[in-house]
Subunit: 381 residues, 4 copies
């Protein structure tokens, strides 16, 4: 059951909806903060440095307004998208978020079950607690996010496991070749990985395990430290993409592009798409807002596959990003909060609500399809 | 008795005014919130999604400033307007608001009595609790707002009843062919219609009643559900306006226009005027501010009859909208709050105060008539 | 004793200054609010309508920044000005504020004593509680503010009394031909005049008294009502200035000019100067900020005598206004608060502090004289 | 031990870091406010007048956003700078702050010890409590800040002592030829110098001591008053720089430049560099933001040595200032708060954290060196 453009159905749904579920993104966030300990909440909610990038992400959406059109005759609409062969019933996917076990014991499997139920693809993180194969069992539409660590054998193994497990694309994160400066975590000395959380891909990986003298069960701390030691990889260059391109026939996207220059560079190196992102403001404090970067990238590359994340909180945000040129957006923190509040059921509720809100807003804005949206549907303030 | 440009009269009035009446729009709102249960207040006060459109409506007024002129010799002034043959003593009318019975038991009849007393026309909603005929008995100057539901027979019946009952125009709402996504209502699962509120036009309509197996008294839930089922009508197109045009000789306005393109389209289909509106921010979250849309529409259509609503809270707002080209504005939430606080007397008080404030502000701004105002009376910040 | 550019003197002064005196404008305001009853404080602090003009007055100063110059060799500086033959030791005068007896029993005489002590001219209000002659006894440098009421005999009498009592100019307020819409007063039904406050000029005026059947002592209410009845005068036109011009050889300024058009009109009718003002945001809600209007007026009239008031709270505000073309500014609410807090001594303290702050800021900004300031000393944000 | 670009090292550091140390600049400020008495905190935290310059300094950074580049292959980076022959491991130096003994008993010696430990140069203030020679004993890389008082013999003595004690440059403060108007100090009548704090250079200076009839130990008040009496020197002009130039072979910088005109004037008089500064908003209320002034100065003087201070709170601020043309920035209040919280160890912690944050942010932004940054790394909002 879900919301729809039908008022009667919605009325019935409302009457049945357990009132304890939050509705708006900030409701979920508030409920999550109540349920989580300070370290876990801070890890999810926090950003780099003064968190100015995080705020900029939100502010950027306020500078664009939708121009609704009337009497479009759009009793049926299509909010689905297809990106590089993967379909989504809505113009959003679930962004890769690591360590979701700190939000809820169901972790990434809970998210994947919600993804499977709704059809909205999930991007599984290299830093997930649940493994590539566990998530694949849920039959969720899925892509794999790769942290390109400083050990090519491990990267290769992850990519091959993802391909074998039916993941539809590899999304290489460029913006986190080491972790950013995050005061909320530093204040509490909070780093979940050293407790074994977020090690799902590694502790199930034959290549990684072969490098350990003892199993993670026998010596968890050394296993975690070894994993962390593979993480920093700032020596990586654009040329390295050619090697990765040779490892898989899956579409490859790069995530973390914030400039037209980098978007062009990525395409020159054979990637199939770019994700405009500043990692939710968690890496470079003071960085340009993701939506502003989307405008720059799309203007430079009118034909490329371009996704974006950063600051998506409601349907209007999704539609604005699509009208500014995103083929789809990635939803991040909101679903982590929903997971914290209600596990798999919370995530499903959030997804259904956002889909219904997108469909209603699109309906009332007078469009027949999200693919129809362009700059003529917006005005700048 | 009312306020006026006369200081002595105002002094006397102040001395006599029961101090318990609120003065400014935010005072009325605060008092209403205290009196209403959370569901009813949230239904009136809330907006779509993140409520960004609601805030944008208010913010847009801050970007324009009045340029007062001195020594205009305007001891007498005229703040009255005439729109499509209907006169108002002030450049505002009462916007169509449904279900006013949730604000106060006097509901739309209370509002109509205040309209009759003040001479300010009322736009009766299709979703009112009191019927077309009940309101007509008050002799209020009145227009009828039509929700163009998915049953032409019902629409036709409503229009003919309004014409027969002396309503001066039909205002077709374009922006609500289904209800928007309103988190305040969703949080509380609040939908007044399923309790029979806001069904006044339907439950008194011979066409609608003929479709029911049992009367609303006998089976209220089925009656309400049947009514709700007629509501969604997103298939409607501009061409359908031609049919409506053939149903009545009354002036027809369309409400919910936010773009120059739609305003032109409406005029091409024979409407007599447009109401620039985003439904008080209740339908499309992220939509352009109503005042900004007014500027766009008026620049595109210098000669058309153009009203606006959205964000009007005080006299300065009214004068700015008029200077930007509105023939008149519609006052919305403020009078619903006044109704909640004081029933008919509250609405009267609010109207008198706003009229007095408009007259005083116009006097002090150096104009002789609201019709004299144009862009030269404003500067942009 | 007063502050100066000398650090040692200031250090001594600081050590001696009773710590109970407030320092910054907002400190005085806070202390005044504590001491005054709600009606009196609201009357002084409040503005018209939504008070957006009041806020705009303050905001406008934030959009201009001073460009300090170094090593100017300005060990001695001159912050004095001369406006139409009246000298002030600082580039500000005390704005005309009526009914100061509601702030402190010393009322306008207390202010005049502080003006006399400091040499800063005072503009005595037509709506003062103390009379033209009482204030003249203090020997304060002084101008007279005229509310041009609807009885020319009274106006004439006031002007002649002011001239006889040694006032140096007549400042005709154009923006208050009737009182604005002030919600703070309306909420409390507060109007001081009906209690006899602010009637000083009238109850001592032979022309006014000759119109009463009974003296104000015998029948105070009728006297106050008669006075109020003379107030509204919206029929006044620019042409009437010619009559006033014929009544006195004193310089005449008009106060309340907000547009280049009105400034030109005023000069055409022989006034000697204009005061750009929106009456502290107390008359036209939504009006242009005073500082923005100053820019417009000065650009249109490079040679005219132009004062301004509205939003002056600190030395930087004074210097910005002067750099934007004001020959001097009028200080309003801050001194009313100082009067409320400390009577004459409070006003003296405020004046001395502001003079010292202006001198220090000018010194540090690298100017030798306030008359040297122009647009090159500012940058816009 | 310190933070670095290595995630594993950082993880270990986090685990060891005493959780009681603050992390972000506002954390240090909050902790300092708790520890200091109101007078001392107000002296450090406060600004001139309405403190609008202080706020403008912070706001200016929000209008510029970093444009991070990906896959730059920057596993090693260089954040060091060299300014006029003095190297710093990071693109910041410690701004000259007087009277640091009011923050912590370790005072300037504590700061110098932290500077020596980190290698970040310290600018010792003429108004320090600890002397030129005491600070030199710490072996901190160091420059001397000169308040050019009205006694050339004292200035000459200070400069010669600094040169003899191995200071690497003389930084002449232009913007404080007398103290600004600081309400926080005025409210509390707080002036630390009259208690002998901040007199370190004077009370150890043979020239100064020769002018006293009694030693500072015998008659501290007269000694302090004599010192204060030398302070005001507003008669100083650009021509006087020629005399100073003749006193020393050290590089001379002038601090307090806010305009292109003054920067050009300074270079004409033979200075080796300028420090764009408004003294942290402590001198001219309403002055242009330091970062805005940097843009103006750098555009006018593409080749000059230009430092800046005012509003630096985090790594992003440092990088933005450098990208806008600063050869280095000066860090001010944050280290005074760190001193208050933890003495020398607090300052070390702050410096290490800021260096680590700068290095991480630079790494993630894709640069190899801070010297590589220019306007192409920024976008304006």
């Amino acid at each position: 059951m879900s919301f729809s453009g039908s008022l009667v159905q919605n009325a019935i749904y409302i009457a049945q909806q357990p009132p304890e579920w939050p509705v708006a993104a900030e409701d979920w966030e508030g409920a999550a903060e109540e349920r989580l300990d300070a370290g876990a909440f801070g890890y999810i909610a926090g950003g780099a440095g003064s968190e100015s990038t995080m705020r900029a992400n939100l502010d950027a959406f306020r500078r664009w307004r939708l121009r609704p059109r009337m009497l479009a005759g759009n009793a049926t609409r299509d909010i689905s998208v297809e990106v590089l062969g993967t379909r989504s019933p809505a113009p959003f996917l679930l962004a890769p978020i690591g360590v979701l076990s700190i939000a809820h014991e169901e972790g990434e499997v809970g998210v994947a079950q919600a993804a499977a139920a709704s059809g909205v693809p999930m991007l599984l993180s290299s830093a997930a607690t649940h493994s590539i194969e566990q998530v694949a069992e849920t039959a969720a539409p899925r892509w794999f996010q790769l942290y390109w660590v400083n050990d090519r054998e491990i990267c290769e193994s992850f990519v091959h496991r993802a391909e074998a497990a039916g993941y539809g694309a590899i999304v290489v994160t460029l913006d986190t070749l080491t972790l950013g400066w995050r005061p909320r975590d530093l204040r509490l000395a909070y780093l979940p990985f050293i407790k074994g959380e977020g090690c799902g891909q590694y502790f199930t990986d034959p290549v990684f395990l072969s490098k350990l003298a003892q199993t993670p069960e026998e010596d968890p701390l050394t296993a975690a430290a070894t994993m962390l030691a593979t993480f920093p990889n700032l020596g990586l260059t654009w040329g390295d993409l050619d090697w990765l391109r040779g490892q898989t026939s899956l579409p490859i996207l790069v995530k973390g592009v914030l400039t037209a220059e980098d978007a062009r560079e990525a395409l020159r190196h054979g990637v199939d798409g770019v994700v405009v992102s500043n990692h939710g403001g968690r890496q470079v404090d003071g960085a340009v807002a993701a939506l502003d970067a989307l405008v720059e990238v799309r203007e430079a590359l009118p034909e490329a596959v371009v996704l974006m994340d950063g600051g998506i909180r409601c349907a209007a945000d999704v539609l604005k990003a699509v009208a500014l040129g995103a083929d789809a957006v990635l939803l991040g923190r909101p679903y982590a909060y929903a997971l914290a509040v209600g596990g798999r059921r919370g995530v499903e509720e959030l997804i259904q609500n956002l889909m219904a809100e997108i469909d209603l807003t699109l309906a009332l804005a007078g469009a027949h399809s999200v693919r129809e949206l362009d700059r003529s549907w917006l005005s700048a303030v």
